[in-house]
Amino acid sequence: MAPLLQIRNLTVEFSTRAGTLHAVNDVSYALEAGETLGIVGESGSGKSVHALAMVGLIPTPPGRIVSGEVLFEGVDLLKLPERELRDIRGRKIGFVFQDPMTSLNPVLTVGRQIMEPLRRHLGLSAAKARARAIELLDLVGIVDPARRIDQFPFEFSGGMRQRVMIAIGIACDPKLLIADEATTALDVTVQAQILELVRDLKKKIGTTVIWITHDMGVVAGLADTIQVMYGGRIMERGPVRSVFKDPRSAYTWGLLRSLPGKLTAADQRLYQIPGSPPNMIHPPAGDPFAPRNEFATERCLREVPPLLQVGAGAPGHMAAAWYDLPAALENKGYA
């Protein structure tokens, strides 16, 4: 069976005053139906941009899709006219964005905002859409939905707003739900509740999910597959357990290692990745992480490594590295 989503060689650029910003470089991956993909990366890694680009949500100009294919249910979204793309957005692909404060229209009731895709895509009558919206609010755990449906976003707390965003995202039972930093702006306790809700919903409605975040911990509990991005490229990708236990990209390893674990004693220093994230207007020539990578080889600085299956790893565990991380770690004396 063909994957639900297949991305091939997606490259996205932005024109800025300082020059061309290479946001996404030659990204390819596939997503099976029912899978939950966690994409991890820091700001500027291209994780959000590529997701927005594939359904035509980046502003053009200044954005520009240079090349690539995005096959969704076998259809190349990048070749679809905007009119047809509109029928997919919100219907087959739902979105949840980072900041529920700014992502909801402040002057419309939340009910109206949930009902909009229902009426547009499913052609529901106002009454039916309303009934469904109340159901959805209930589903995402909002108490007293029949009353709250007529309230405005400012009358909701941050966590409640994000629940509303999720209700909008899943309103039309999409095949794919893309959540872009959906819990970043929330408090940890609220984040935990939202994550719980998403896990719950996945069980109930079985949607395929792309969960974009910068927090390794969030992905650990939620995703089947993790994909680590850096400098507009995929650095590593694979089943969650395999990647966490046996990272093959120095970046993934560094990230995991720099987090304060249970074992790090207070008198010990955290591992720190040296340097700063790359300037994507003038990206490094080879592996984007190479300048900060203590294990980098000559080749890393010159040539972009391909994303390849890791020899000894689990099936589907791939990394882009010219170096062999386990060996390098041993050499450098890291346990």
Binding site: D87, G94, F97, T102, L104, P106, F154
Partner: protein, 306 residues
């Protein structure tokens, strides 16, 4: 809500008091109307007698407080020039001003809204350049020049429209267009930048991610929010049109309050200056009060804060 309104009314009262006070003292510096009211050759004794009869021989503070008290009762005194209550003189000119201001505002806002929308939705394209250049031209054209050109073209050359006066609806067209050009230019520029700002908001992206139709997005998510600063602007423009269309009124012989006040300034007709400016200020303040309330309709957040 009641508290909010009470606060707003108090602010309005302060604004009106400030306007009246400033105008009172500034106009008293102008000089003495007696020399203008009497014919050539009047003697000093005659001038003195007239001054006394107008109450201008009193110390200025006495005049101020007595006229302030009278104003509170709606009495602005008898016009020196018109010989009847200044308020009457002003109010009978008000409809002409109101109808001109209203027409210009409606016309200007309509044109400006269309132009600003076209410009914002065609960012970087020829259409934006044309619309925005036109708006700039509109703002860069002195009103009297535009008015005279319109008269020369439509009245003298073509003979289509009357050149002066306010007798019929036809008379309204040219002065309304003259004022509307400036209004629409301001509105177009503001709306464009406001729209561009809103177009970059996250919730517009959300709306697009929902697959909504462009017209739905524009109407409910973009325009609705972009309107808020435009409404403020309309309030300010309404104020300017009410008292500030002096030049247009002069060119077209339109019998508005603006020109009445200018003439009152020229003739040092203090009661009319006072009444005219107070009426304009009161209307302005109330328009803006209405706009504050309209905000609540447009923006539920503000409603929530009250």
């Amino acid at each position: 809500m009641i508290r909010f309104m009470a606060g707003k009314l108090l602010e309005a009262a302060i604004a009106i008091w400030g306007v009246v006070t400033i105008v009172f003292f500034v106009s008293r510096v102008l000089g003495d109307p007696a020399v203008l009211l009497l014919p050539l050759g009047a003697t000093d004794a005659q001038l003195e007698a007239l001054r006394a009869s107008l109450g201008l021989d009193q110390p200025i503070l006495v005049q101020y407080f007595s006229s302030l008290g009278a104003m509170l009762r709606g009495d602005f005194g008898i016009s020196f020039q018109h010989m009847r209550p200044a308020l009457d003189v002003v109010l009978e000119r008000m409809p002409a001003t109101a109808i001109l201001a209203f027409s210009a505002l409606v016309l200007g806002v309509l044109i400006g809204a269309v132009a600003g929308t076209i410009a914002a939705l065609n960012r970087g394209k020829l259409a934006e350049l044309i619309v925005m250049s036109a708006a700039l031209l509109g703002q860069a054209t002195p009103v009297f020049w535009l008015g005279l050109m319109l008269i020369l073209f439509f009245s003298v050359q073509l003979g289509w429209l009357p050149s002066a006066g306010s007798g019929t609806w036809w008379h309204l067209i040219l002065p309304a267009i003259t004022l509307a050009v400036f209004v629409s230019a301001s509105i177009a520029r503001l709306l464009r930048s406001s729209l561009l700002e809103i177009l970059g908001e996250d919730y517009v992206r959300t709306a697009r991610a929902k697959g909504l139709l462009p017209q739905t997005i524009f109407t409910w998510h973009v325009a609705r929010n972009a309107l808020i600063p435009v409404v403020t602007m309309i309030g300010i423009i309404a104020g300017e049109l009410l008292g500030g269309s002096v030049v247009t009124e002069t060119v077209f012989g339109w019998p508005g309050v603006g020109r009445l006040i200018v003439q009152a300034i020229q003739n040092q007709d203090f009661p009319v200056i006072q009444a005219g400016v107070a009426v304009v200020a009161i209307i302005f303040v109330f328009i803006n009060l209405a706009i504050d309330l309209l905000y609540g309709v447009l923006d539920p957040r503000i409603r929530g804060e009250r």
